[in-house]
Symmetry: C2
């Protein structure tokens, strides 16, 4: 019995899967005990065939839809897509969203206190990979008794996880939906990411990652977020939102005040150690390198695939997404690539619901 | 009697114009005494009608062509264009290049010791404007007895100075050549510049600009330069130069090592106080704002104008340059806008000499 609110619904609180033996990271480290936080929405059907995995991106966590209480200021980060009567329709689908290792939103993270030392992991927290993210989701799937996801869906880094699912666990997915993502981060975006990480690591307050008992490297994280935020915006959006306008009667550019606001808002809630790890994982993923070629990565995929790119997204330009599409087609996959025309750049996946809902809904209906 | 070298020529050492009464900055400050460093190449003719002013951009100084000695590792920064038999041909033209106020290359700058205090100006050095740059060039013109420049030529910030010359001193110029520049910096580039300045100002070693007696804010300046360098490169160049390739047998991306190299090279010679001032001057210039409209800024211009933009330059995109072109045409100016197709982005003005030399040569010949 789900309570519907005006535009959303009342969801259950986050759930935890506690691994007392710990989580084994791809690079060889094990962190124990390890908690994986996840959320579920809707009802798993009797034959467990209606489960959709939503993979989150760098910034958000497992709370992808609904409100915990009617008084919550905001619903989950993809509430425009996941809900009753929405593109990923909870009337028929069961949705799972897992907070991946490294992220600061509940699962064991660099900020978590290591019970063996009594201090946060900090610099000792492992360097995460996209495979680790997929592994955390696989563990939750096993825990819930879901042997095959009807679909694995994600945006940006979440879309990269969806592609990694296809490459690693082709037998466990019925469909892949990847928005604003490709099989690796193109060099221009890698370079901006690297610069962002340098900004954090150059903040003297960072102290190599062991800053939890002193001042946190907020300015470094703010600056890194400003750089990242620029890569999320299209030139069109910058021109129409700000142009060269000044703030009130001051000489400060409006875009300056906006970037400072975005930087501060992010830095006050995220964590620098998480940021550099999650972003590095994104940059390190490279299905060509890992499997020898994209063709090899997708050779055994038999699920359908829907790729959506945005013509003003320059973090993952349309031609990069088309490269993934061509490789999937060459591997015999029933894959569709839709290029959405929008001024909203990379962030369009959280803005242009009227454009992305119809293809997502149709794709899921046809599975 | 000029000595020609293999690809260049032997130039005279820099000259100085010393203003004992000081230089009056647009914002009201006066710095006295004030030295303006400039270089000249070729011979001024009897009626002083063959003088061309070359305006330099953010990074370089007055040394735009030739070598001081045959052993110099490098010739001046625009030696591909300025020289005997080159696009700006010293066989017939007299070229002047002035190091503008604020730049660290010889003219009185933030690093200069203030004789009244015995310490560098540092934070007390004024905030510079493009009008101040033009004024320093006007003072040199008067000093040399040049009442009319045959042409004023510049790239990037130098091209902005050329447009400012047209707006402020239309009666003193016969032609304007502006490459990779427009009448104001578009918002995307302003935002990247702002982020760069924040990186310098966030370096604790910056100490508000008074760092000359302690550690200099090298890391902040390096990081700012990495950000700037990214805006000079096209995505095409990033892909072809680096792609996602790693450095040797390491996991370091080649683009990472390249950006660190560029950042270090720049920071070891430039000065942080100069950088933030010169870049802010660039961002503050806005002929629309200053004159009410571009049409008003160019209303009295009667010189010819040549605008060259590069299709992969996203610091000054082609459509911004076309806006200047349209305004010049509307003002009755005989103006041409050439869009050069190149993978080299903003820096094409120092790379694609085979593409920019013919139009520059023809334009000067027709004056």
């Amino acid at each position: 019995m789900t309570q519907l609110l005006d535009d959303t619904f009342l969801c259950e609180p986050p759930k935890s899967l506690v691994l007392s033996e710990g989580f084994a990271f791809k690079h060889g480290d094990r962190v124990a005990p390890f908690t994986i936080v996840y959320e579920t929405y809707g009802e798993l059907n009797a034959d467990r065939s209606n489960a959709v995995l939503v993979c989150h991106a760098l910034s958000p966590g497992a709370h992808c839809a609904g409100k915990y209480t009617p008084e919550d200021a905001k619903a989950g980060w993809w509430d425009g897509m996941v809900g009753y009567g929405k593109g990923i329709d909870l009337a028929t689908l069961f949705v799972v969203c897992v907070n991946f290792p490294g992220s600061p939103w509940g699962s064991t993270a660099p900020r978590t206190v290591d019970p063996t030392t009594g201090t946060p992991y900090g610099s000792r927290y492992p360097w995460v990979t996209v495979e680790d993210m997929v592994e955390s989701q696989r563990l939750v799937a096993d825990h819930l008794g879901i042997s095959v996801w009807k679909a694995v869906v994600g945006n940006s880094l979440g879309g990269m996880q969806a592609l990694m699912w296809a490459a690693l666990h082709h037998e466990r997915i019925g469909g892949v939906i990847s928005l604003a993502a490709s099989a690796s981060v193109p060099v221009a975006s890698v370079a901006w990411h690297l610069i962002g990480r340098k900004l954090i690591q150059s903040d003297p307050a960072f102290r190599g990652g062991d800053y939890y008992t002193s001042t946190e490297p907020l300015r470094g994280l703010q600056l890194a977020r400003m750089v990242a935020h620029m890569t999320y915006l299209s030139n069109e959006a910058l021109e129409s939102k700000f142009g060269r306008r000044r703030r009130g009667s001051t000489r400060q550019f409006e875009v300056d005040s906006y970037l400072e606001y975005q930087g501060s808002k992010f830095a006050s809630s995220y964590d620098a150690n998480s940021y550099i790890r999650v972003q590095a994982a994104m940059d390190e993923m490279d299905l060509d390198e890992q499997f020898g070629s994209l063709a090899a990565a997708f050779a055994r995929v038999r699920s359908k695939a829907l790729l959506i790119s945005f013509d003003t997204d320059w973090l993952f330009p349309t031609n990069e997404v088309e490269r993934v599409h061509a490789a999937l087609r060459a591997a015999g996959v029933d894959a569709t690539h839709i290029v959405v025309s929008t001024p909203n750049g990379h962030d369009a996946f959280m803005i242009d619901y009227h454009l992305i809902t119809p293809p997502v809904r149709s794709f899921l209906a046809a599975l």
